[in-house]
Amino acid sequence: MNDVVRRSLVFSTFAVAIVFIGFLQSWNVALGIFNLCLISATMALGVNIQLGYAGIFNAGVMGFAALGGLSAVIISYKPVSETISLGGLGILICILILLLGSVLGVIVYKSNLTQAYKKILFPLIIIVVLLLLNLIGAPAVERIEAFEPAASGFLGGFGLPIILSWIVGGVIAGLVAYLIGKITLGLRSDYLAIATLGIAEVIIYILKNEDWLTRGVKNVNGLPRPVPYEIDLQESTWFIQLCQNYGFPLVETSSIVVKLSYCFLFSIVVLTLFILSEVALKSPWGRMMRAIRDNEISARAMGKNVKARHLEIFILGSAIIGLAGAMLTTLEGQFTPTTYQPLRFTFTVWVMVIIGGTGNNYGSLIGGFLVWFLWVEAEPLGLYLVELITSPLSETNPLRIQLITNAAHMRYMMMGLLLLLVLRFAPKGIFPEGR
């Protein structure tokens, strides 16, 4: 089967599935799923750049996605002037101290002092920085967090349009990826996976506990939207006129229009990223990356700087994941650090990339689409299956009740089975990597 036919077949099957959901459940549900499919595909594209192009195992997808979410809060939320006057200065000084400390650390590291001096100076810098942070930061943080903790208690953001956060989210994730990559990229592949897994956990812990920045587990609600609100649409005359002319139900149409606008925005991002990734993959740069992946030693012998290239690709991929994270928080309109679970964010995205076909951007797209579709539809499907299987049992049978309440968790089992089956019987995925 030729590539184009295969691609159009698979993608149209997915389109049919979405249309099917539209008729069977509702268009609102179908569009809701499709929007998240687009975000999943963005994440999958990011992971594919790392895993597919260069064979880097980044198990910290969750952390970078959360950084994107954080940037959505910082960019779009209105500044809370009271807390800024209470502790803004303290926080600013702390950031400066941190920067100064890092610069000092780098200077010491690069200087030609002997190891013995460095061994004394490094801990000294760290202790002094920590002490200063405690002295200046702690009271400021306390003042900020004490201000109306039920409604605010954090610094807020810059009050800029939330779309801007998509770019900023990518930049922040990229910067963090640079720091992490510098430390961990020299490691063997499975150590790298473990180290990145750890970094993601640490990032989530910070977001959960630094209330002055993110309100922690109290969540940030009511982020502004890049698209109109349903209520505003329902009240505007042109929209009412439109619905009356075509006989659409007002409330449902308004929410479909909102979802379609999101869909439009996300599609632009996905298409742009997709085209850029394809161009990069086909360029000399992409060939060099695959050469490094397939045989690192000979690539090095050809004079390629493997470590620098790996760092490059780690930053690129992580930035795309950060962008996807910001998109997700924009869509949800709220930032909830507790929802970041490695199974849901990190490993599901891996499954997407592997099922779609590592190294193939079409594969990442369809992997993101299909896996997210299954992830959502597994719940009703699992429930249906369990009800079918347990139907001989009586309604009040405790085993039946137990199984039905837990049926939603079948999605993890399904993901695992899917990954194992694909890995065993079609290790190259739906769209194998081209030559």
């Binding site: 490691l187 640490v202 993901m415 695992g416």
Partner: protein
């Protein structure tokens, strides 16, 4: 006297919990390290194996309790531990047969094994949540304390004291016994030696007539058994939470790598290093210093390096430092 008070405080808040948690990590890390030594991959499913073992144990404990079985002052779960080990070993046997045997035959890249283990992790996580649900389960029904802080203070007449929880004593004792058995097995018995030989040099081991399938299956069974112990002891000491085991993966891997992955002694030492440093770094030293320093020098702050919320970050930082400074770990890992 002041010194003894400070020591009692540290024992209560750092040493006892540290050695308990360290034992649980050590048992988990031993499993990871054995799999690594024989099969040469990092098993991401190990946390879920611990969870699986603990779940089976809880289910049988409930069954036993409904028939009125109990273990007196000790937790009932201990009676059903062997059954849980059996089930987990059987589960591991199936994993090996249906998932990993194929990649072993094909001599796949370690990273393929790792991805397969993530598939197993997903599946097991789903299975556990499907059977027992995602909520917390408390199944420790024995006597809580061997002696508590109040009794200790009354006995010694100190101002501060420490209590010894039954679960702490059980955990530490079990770990000592298990580790001794494992080391005797690895160093003295024929089968244990064949495992070491296989881990050291696969081709040479094959040449001397060691059956690779037997060695690999045995490794899985031992790893499954150790995982069950770790999961049940952790559940008894704290609480059984299906979600916690994926987070435990990080300290467990850190323990294995810090000690030197593939080296059992390293795994045990690594477990204690990680656990104790987590507690040492996040403990508030104010009261201890108040006893040790002269009267007028009592510190004002909490004297805490890092807030307790960042416990997991400590294991990560240690992991990164070890990976950079000495990637082979304290005990130079790679083979048993």
């Amino acid at each position: 006297m002041d010194f003894l008070n400070a020591l009692a405080l540290i024992t209560n808040y750092i040493l006892l919990p540290g050695f308990t948690y360290g034992s649980q990590l050590a048992l988990g890390a031993l499993g990871v390290t054995l799999i690594y030594a024989v099969l040469r991959f990092s098993n991401f499913a190990h946390g879920e194996l611990m969870s699986f073992g603990a779940m089976v144990c809880i289910l049988f404990t409930w069954l036993g309790q409904s028939y009125g079985i109990n273990f007196g002052v000790l937790p009932t779960a201990l009676i059903f531990l062997p059954i849980a080990i059996g089930f987990t070993a059987l589960y591991c046997f199936f994993i090996e047969k249906f998932v990993f045997a194929y990649y072993r035959r094909k001599k796949s890249d370690p990273i393929i094994f790792l991805i397969a283990s993530i598939g197993v992790m997903f599946f097991t996580a789903g299975l556990i949540r499907f059977i027992i649900g995602p909520s917390d389960q408390n199944f420790n029904d024995g006597v809580r304390f061997i002696f508590n802080v109040r009794e200790f203070k009354a006995f010694t007449g100190l101002d501060e004291g420490f209590g010894l929880k039954t679960s702490q004593a059980i955990t530490i004792l079990t770990t000592i016994i298990l580790c001794s058995i494992l080391f005797v097995f690895l160093n003295k018995t024929r089968t244990g030696k064949s495992m070491r030989a296989f881990s050291d040099n696969e081709d040479l081991a094959l040449l001397s007539g060691i059956d690779p399938n037997k060695v690999v299956l045995l490794t899985w069974v031992i790893a499954g058994g150790l995982a069950t112990f770790a999961g049940v002891l952790y559940g008894l000491d704290k609480i059984y939470k299906p979600f916690i085991f994926l987070q435990m993966l990080l300290p467990i891997f850190s323990a294995a790598i810090v000690g030197g992955v593939g080296n059992p002694i390293g795994a045990v030492v690594g477990g204690y290093v990680i656990a104790l440093s987590e507690l040492f770094v996040t403990f508030a030293y104010r009261k201890v210093l108040a006893y040790l320093l002269p009267e007028n020098m009592e510190p004002a702050g909490m004297m805490q390096f890092l807030s307790t919320d960042y416990k997991f970050a400590v294991s990560f930082i240690i992991l990164v430092i070890v990976l950079i400074v000495r990637p082979t770990g304290i005990f130079r890992g790679k083979t048993i």
